[in-house]
């Protein structure tokens, strides 16, 4: 009796998170999937419904249309947007890693006393709205903005730099916004690392730099992977930053998606774009999980 009850109790406890995921992630995904297979219509909602109800199921299945997906391959805009998004996300990830790694390392090696303070400093930006922080960058980067004023007054430049509304601004925005997502997993890995391993490497003749490449970096690979994915995945689909900081020539898939949904009101195509984006991101996530499994086995 007791065993039976605990069996059910355990099932219920496990079921709660799955239920949550099903209601708030799986169901919306299925709706988007459904819309992506329907045809555009000038109506409310702006698509021809498919799959509504279980009656005439076979007929409904025949109504399924891959037109939207075919359309994505026909218009070069989408492929360009995907490639450009991946490129921007990749470059941003590398820059974030290059900035984040020394930061995380310095934090991990900092005296115990000030470490919580440094950690706080990394988390602090989250206390302000993401949108407001991106707007703040407009103020910094615009032609008469803070950065240009500073550089002009220092005499480094004599003409204001055009940063805002270019890809440069997008890179700056992404690197700034996603840096904590790189630093935190890196810090977690580096902080766990036994510093005596570095001493042992030095003792055996490795220079500080040699010990860094041969000991610290290999042992922090899980952190590098986790941080890179946490930056890369949302950066690929980023919409706010390219929209606010990027120029008209900044092509990113998140923005294309938004334009399809709200300017063109083409929900089916927008849904198809979203599904393809999701599939693109599933690949690196699966690779990452495979590597995690192999590392832990």
């Amino acid at each position: 009796m007791h065993a039976l009850r605990s069996f059910f109790a355990r099932r219920v406890v496990i079921a709660i998170p799955y239920l949550w995921l099903a209601v708030f992630f799986l169901a919306p995904f299925l709706i988007v999937l459904k819309i992506s297979f329907s045809a555009t219509a000038i109506a409310m909602p702006p698509y021809a419904p498919v799959f509504d109800g279980l009656a005439n199921l076979w007929e409904r299945v025949q109504d399924l249309s891959f037109d939207n997906y075919v359309w994505l391959t026909e218009d070069a805009l989408y492929i360009k947007a995907y490639l450009s998004s991946v490129k921007i996300a990749l470059i941003s990830t590398v820059i974030t890693l290059l900035i984040g790694y020394p930061l995380a390392l310095a934090m991990a090696r900092a005296p115990d006393r000030i470490r919580p303070l440094l950690l706080m400093a990394i988390i602090l930006p989250f206390w302000t709205s993401f949108l407001i922080r991106v707007y703040a960058w407009i103020g910094i980067l615009k032609p008469e903005g803070l950065l240009n004023q500073l550089l002009l007054s220092l005499g480094v430049i004599d003409q204001p730099l055009t940063i805002i509304n270019t890809n440069w601004a997008v890179y700056i925005g992404i690197v700034y916004s996603y840096l904590p997502f790189m630093v935190l997993p890196l810090y977690a890995t580096l902080e766990k690392m036994d510093y005596r391993l570095i001493e042992a490497a030095n003792d055996l003749g490795a220079t500080p730099l040699g010990a860094f490449w041969k000991i610290t970096v290999p042992l922090s690979v899980p952190g590098i992977l986790a941080g890179s994915l946490l930056v890369f995945i949302p950066a690929v689909g980023e919409f706010v930053i390219p929209d606010l900081l990027g120029g008209s020539d900044t092509l990113m898939i998140g923005r294309t998606l938004w334009v399809e949904f709200f300017y063109n009101r083409d929900w089916p195509v927008a849904s198809a774009v979203a599904i393809v984006l999701l599939l693109l991101l599933v690949v690196p996530i699966v690779i990452f999980q495979k590597m995690q499994q192999r590392a832990s086995s």
Partner: protein, 385 residues
Amino acid sequence: MAKMLGPVRRAFQPWNDPSQPPFIEFRNVTKRFGDFTAVDNQSITVYEREFYALLGPSGCGKTTLLRMLAGFEEPSEGEIFLDGRPLTGVPPHKRPVNMMFQSYALFPHMNVADNIAFGLKQEGMAKADIAVRVEEMLRLVKLQDFARRKPAQLSGGQQQRVALARALAKRPKVLLLDEPLGALDKKLREETQFELTDLQESLGLTFLIVTHDQEEAMTMADRIAVMDHGRVIQVATPAVIYEAPASRYIADFVGDVNIFEGRIAHLENGGLTMTTAAGFTVEVAEMPQGVARPQAGETIWFAIRPEKMVISHERPPNATTNVIEGEVWDIGYLGDVSIYNIKLDSGDVVRATRLNASREVERPLTWEDRVFLSWRPDAGTVLVR
């Protein structure tokens, strides 16, 4: 110390040879961490091929001395010399010493062979030579079959061997061992102690070991430096440390000891007679060390090891001095020896041990027996500190 006490492992006493140059020399070395003085103006000399132990409780500064020699810490004051050359400012990776870490610090992402080869690769040794050396090291520590294993797949004893092989692979001038056997169980520890001394002798290396385990230091070292609060308080062979400790602290730290406070009654024939606070008279065959002229009436301490006292049911005939009477208070049977805690009439508890030489004893000592403890005049030492 003029007269040598007890056995010395081999006819090897460079510290008694003034022509012998020091190999490792700490010269007036002080190390401070903030307000804390870890090592307080200490000078230590270690000779080539010596097995030297720094013994003391945790926080006594022994590990700091080792880390300064390895280059992980720089002395706040003073200088360290190795083979005549000052080490000041030389970074760890350029020092011809290798360390075996307490936690072993094996590289978890490398297999056993790569761990051992790490130092050799840093040296830029040719690949073929590295393979030969790694093979030789694996044979030395009897781990030939484990070359491809990762450290996590090894037992504690095997990890310890890998750490040793890795530290020895570069043939360092000095091998530093930081509590090398702390993580091993007793049986393995004893085996390893003898293996380490054999290895040290056959390789002809200088070993500097840090330990808080007096047994470890006693079995392995040629000389032991006993440390306390950042100072070396006695440097001597294990036998001298044990039989002629320089202070009550050392007598108590190294092995078991009974210490009695008393006053010198009179001095005679190079020895003395003292009256203890517990009310018995002790006759000692030697003078206390560290004082030029002991005076009658001076407060001193008498130290005697438990195994140096004889326990008997009857009062030893004709004995007036060096005998005390008491009651068996506690018995600890250890198999090879038994420990007896004897409560004196004064209330003091004295510890004595007896070898269990025969399997059956006609009249065994048991609780609440009235017994006598007696010893020869040369069995104990007098201490002034």
